[in-house]
Symmetry: C2
Subunit: 501 residues, 2 copies
């Protein structure tokens, strides 16, 4: 093995000669590119190829291995798409990232890329906080909000895309209806009728680029209508709060207790609108039902109060009956926001919003100015997914997966964090734990990240001081990672308690 | 033939019995769905199936034809995707649109869907004007801004998408970098270096949902920086003006003459920024070169003036040398906006923007709040298109096509509109004609639309009164349509001149 670069953090030029001592005869005949990419990946993971090193030119390496240049180009391309290589013109192909290292070949701490675990959690979270935590490296990722994306139905998606491309009219490739394609609006109307108890005409459905866009568009429309504050659950989504604040809206906090949002507190704020997650409150997991739900309905009908209903993970439920959306009974007061981020993948950036009739035109104008409407092809593919039953099959599949992972996490918490209280595990993609401690949950999150486990501190999602806790997504992690990660959290908490920091 | 519905504009129920007298034995064995869809399409075009009529249930029709239900469902689905049918739950499948009718079976004028030709052009254009003109029906569409979307490389797109899906890491399906995927940012940096003379690091590239989104994001950022006006070329893009105004920016007009934008007028406005289309001015087609270009560069360097450079169709040139982007010499002053709308298809909604360094972070924040970043899959497919040379091949192919269409239109104008002056035909996807007339160009556009030819009146794109004219896109129309459409325009103008209206 050529180990001359091992442990060398500075930029160094890897010679084309004997590069990684590759034994091309081990490569399967139809899969040379994939084999080569895997060899380089291993070399990246164990730092034989450190950050900043330059790879041999494709022509050179191909000649050396006796393969076509395309084999090498494809391998490099694949690694570039994974974010490991950067192929800038005259500098050649440079290492810019690395897969998570295995324990045996763990890099020296100085090599762990930015941001440092501590830096993510020291300051108050700003606009880029979710980018920071996403790019922070950790082998086990309990960030909430992700379904099991590894289960994304790639083959079925491609199959439906082929059908869409086969049948598309050329005019569908031009500028389209900013509300979205008719096919998807029909499919969404049917989907929310079947799954969320909402009766809506396709003409009421506005297709958007996910709920983040919904929040910004609705925020603009409310601001333009003279509304200056949108109350927000406390605890409640930090991301939603940031989006609304960015629209120059105040976000007075309204407490959430075991029955859901405190409508008396909402009245006391005097806010004309509130952002809610009624089906599975984020992050506490409380369901808004019964008397609290009627109270809220009264508030809305009496005062003309507006509700932004973020129905982000309502389809994922395990041990409880479904809860119909508020929109199903309050069509004149509710902006209803849904998306496929938790059903298929956030990377699709497709969602939908139904506005109260009086705001429909303004919201359409806002969407038009935002981007002229979503891209057409993914909408048409998704429409086929929804109308063919494929999305319901995917959901059933995910539910089984997620439930197993949820069970694993609940068990692991009982074993490793006996003092913690679990909240909201009956549905969704995450649960929340709270615990007694003399230190901040941001410090716990930082210590966990330093030990390769990524979590959200509960305090990020709180506007008022509260018991420390962690928000733990389980849907995207395999059961072994869940057990191991929770064990690490238990160890982190024990050490911090012992040292009294 | 069952003609009981012919000419019946009211909603009527089509019985399942003998529906359209379909002769299933004529269908090819592997293509029954396509055959059925085509039969229904013909019936829609000649109004055997008028707007509002209900189609037989899929089960019923399948039984009648002796085919599997999937054959019928697929045919209906395809027509729904084309916007002709609407399959709402309990109402069954309803006719909501129709293909352009042939001359022989032209529907009575009352059946032509909204909006009416006159209504599109009577009032001053508002936010929805491009939706109105897009949904107005016309057999020949000279709306500017579309490449030949029928030439979209569907098979190649699907092939690259398969590769992307094969190789994607699961984490790429989660929430991503709001700047865009690294692969596409690298590809764009290479593309603009090769094609537009701009040297940029991939870290400077922000992937957006087309230039419409660029305008709104840049407008927000400038407004937040205390800038209250962005000057705009006159004539200049109505759409761009609407977007900037929507950001509460004034848009003082600056004249364009045969050398390009009048920099002396720009100085006189006192505006801190200007929106420009230097490579092929929209809509006049003038190229900003030589002394006018240096004047503009002086203005920018002296005053710190900002330029939004919309490089919307610079890659399409026929009879002239390429013009490097302003960004290539004014990186600190120019927001550079590009997109694939004119290279592949507007429906992809992918573009990019390079900001001056001082605005880069603010623009990234704006994009993050807008939608958390573009969808990942189409970005990765496009990156492969750009890096493999497929996009350059597509561009060469389009150039040949477009040049032929441009030539056809120029010839047809010489033949049918001898009094008109042609502007800006050396590049791009459209040309502009001006003419002497005692009537408004909006009336010409309305009369043309009533005769099945869709055009933009030049006055839409002017802030100050000016000679009447029309903006004519040629890239998306086959040559026969171009000749016929221009002949119709000639006839319309002659009649209007003769009647003195």
């Amino acid at each position: 093995m050529n180990r001359s670069n091992e442990g060398t953090p500075r930029r160094s030029i890897v010679s084309g000669a004997d590069f990684l001592h590759l034994a091309i005869e081990e490569a399967p005949s139809g899969g040379k590119s994939e084999w080569l990419a895997q060899q380089i990946r291993l070399a990246l993971a164990d730092r034989r190829l450190p950050m900043g090193s330059r790879l041999p030119a494709t022509r050179v390496l191909a000649g050396e291995l006796g393969v076509s240049r395309g084999v090498v180009t494809e391998a490099y391309q694949r690694l570039a798409e994974d974010g490991y290589l950067d192929g800038r013109g005259r500098n050649g192909t440079i290492v810019v990232g690395a897969p998570a290292a295995t324990a045996a070949a763990k890099p020296p701490p100085t090599l762990v890329g930015p941001p440092s675990p501590r830096s993510v959690f020291t300051a108050a979270p700003e606009a880029d906080v979710f980018d920071l935590i996403r790019t922070a490296r950790a082998r086990i990722d309990f960030s909430p909000g992700l379904p099991d994306v590894a289960a994304f139905p790639r083959a079925a998606w491609l199959r439906e895309e082929r059908r869409v491309l086969d049948r598309l009219a050329a005019s569908d490739l031009g500028y389209g209806d900013p509300r979205g394609t008719l096919a998807l609006r029909v499919a969404v109307a049917n989907w929310i009728a079947r799954n969320r108890g909402i009766r809506a005409d396709p003409g009421e459905v506005l297709v958007v680029a996910g709920t983040a866009q919904t929040l910004t568009l609705v925020g603009q429309v409310l601001r333009d209508d003279g509304i200056s504050a949108v109350a927000i659950e406390d605890p409640g989504s930090l991301g939603a709060r940031q989006h609304l604040r960015n629209c120059r809206l105040d976000t007075p906090p309204v407490a959430v207790d075991s029955e859901g949002v405190r409508v008396d507190e909402l009245r006391a704020t005097g806010a004309a609108a509130i952002f809610l997650t009624p089906a599975h409150q984020f992050p506490t997991g409380v369901v808004l039902r019964g008397s609290r739900r009627s109270e809220l309905t009264h508030w809305a009908s009496e005062s003309g109060g507006l509700i932004i209903e973020d129905d982000y993970d309502a389809e994922h439920r395990y041990d409880r009956t479904p809860v119909p959306a508020l929109r199903s009974v309050l069509a004149n007061n509710v902006f209803y926001a849904g998306s496929v981020s938790k059903l298929l993948a956030p990377a699709l950036r497709i969602g939908w919003v139904l506005a109260p009739p009086k705001y429909r035109d303004a919201l359409l104008d806002a969407k038009r100015f935002a981007d002229l409407g979503n891209a057409a092809l993914p909408q048409l593919v998704l429409a086929r997914f929804m109308e063919s039953g494929a999305l319901e099959r995917q959901l059933r599949h995910l539910r089984r997966h997620h439930r197993r992972r949820r069970d694993t996490m609940v068990k692991a918490i009982a074993a490793h964090l006996p003092g913690a209280t679990v909240h909201g595990a009956a549905a969704g993609l995450h649960l929340t734990i709270t615990f007694e401690a003399g230190f901040a949950d941001t410090d716990v999150a930082a210590a966990a990240l330093a030990r390769d486990v990524k979590v959200h501190p509960l305090s990020w999602h709180c506007q008022r001081p509260r018991q420390p806790g962690l928000v733990l997504g389980y849907a995207a992690s395999p059961p072994t990672d869940i057990s191991e990660g929770v064990a690490t959290l238990g160890d982190v908490l024990r050490r911090m308690s012992a040292s009294g920091t």
